[in-house]
Symmetry: C2
Subunit: 217 residues, 2 copies
């Protein structure tokens, strides 16, 4: 019996943790990290405020875990794009479009992850996830340099630069789009942004030129 109870308690704890996660992600998607107070997260998840503190020491710790969870999903998408079959520049173009399109569709959440002024704990998470992207892009750039598909360059420098270019150029459009965001409407219901949206083409053009594909003879 003791064993069964433990299992039951563990499952219940897991359920509540997932509800807190979901509530936090929803609130961040609606109003950024500043909208995700412990009280608001608790209310959205249908638990008492005090319950949150049984799972996370404070708002920062909860938000940091949500940050890691959400960005891992995004990093995985970019990794998948970079690992499709095809030429280096096509794969880079696809990865850039994937990142930008998902950011522009997620708007408020993407702005929160990329640019919203946050506390040092989340700033550190931001450094980590940009590093993860940089490593992915660096690998593909190194592959391109080795196969002479891209000009000679330092893949580590170019990978980081590409991530910086991608993130920074989206901050303005995301901030603009947040103004036209319809609250209460899920991301999927917001006007769709396709891979050929002008801003995405502009960013991809900048990045692809930067790493310099060498034309095939």
């Amino acid at each position: 019996m003791a064993y069964r109870e433990t299992e039951k308690v563990r499952a219940r704890k897991e359920t509540i943790k997932l509800r807190l996660f979901k509530a936090a992600e929803e609130l961040i998607s609606e109003a950024g990290f500043k909208g995700a107070s412990v009280a608001a997260i608790a209310a959205r998840a249908g638990v008492a405020t005090g319950t949150v503190y049984r799972y996370f020491p404070d708002k920062s710790a909860l938000c940091a875990e949500v940050f890691r969870h959400v960005t891992q999903r995004e990093v995985d998408q970019v990794a998948a794009s970079l690992n499709t079959p095809g030429g280096i520049d096509d794969r880079l173009r696809l990865a850039i479009a994937t990142f930008a399109r998902r950011a522009l569709r997620g708007r408020r959440l993407a702005y929160a992850l990329i640019a919203e002024p946050v506390d040092p704990v989340l700033d550190q998470e931001r450094l980590n996830y940009r590093q993860a992207y940089a490593e992915l892009f660096s690998q593909t750039i190194a592959e391109g340099v080795n196969s002479a598909a891209l000009r000679p360059q330092n893949p580590k420098v170019s990978g980081a630069a590409l991530v910086g270019a991608l993130a920074e150029s989206l901050i303005g459009p995301l901030a603009e789009q947040i103004k036209s965001y319809v609250p209460g409407l899920s991301s999927d219901m917001q006007p769709p942004i396709t891979a050929d949206h002008p801003i995405i083409i502009d960013i991809a053009e900048f990045c692809i030129n930067a790493v310099g594909p060498i034309p095939k003879r």
Copy 2:
């Protein structure tokens, strides 16, 4: 007499404020924003901790003013580089080298300004100063597009992307360099980094390729 006293008080207040600024900048240059506590700033400036609060409501407000002051100096240097006579790509190259060289020479201070996890007040200052750089680069890029010296592109997107590339690619090298930083030695005494340092050439090459100078016929 009353008038003279007021003048004297005002001058004295101005002196203390400048000393606090100088102390804060020194501490940030040595150990980042996390090293610039109100107590440490007061001690370095030779005033009581309580005195600091007569000039600034809190550490954030003081650090934000130092941030603005220091970054304005950097923005001015980049603006001057962009406004030298010469071709668009030479001016962009000079501005990129100026930013990178000054950052790498200032190391700890540059890392604090660009990447150190900080509180939301300083994150907001960071957004503002990146915006200032982006506008400068956008102007020069627009000029280049209009004169057909650069490929057709959206100067606003490219200006922001260029600043992102520049800042992000420096984070790794700055973090590395901080490890070899000699504490107590002023920035000028640290091993010099010249405009032809490999990392600066790599970053400049990425950025110049990105905006795509059109070869003169």
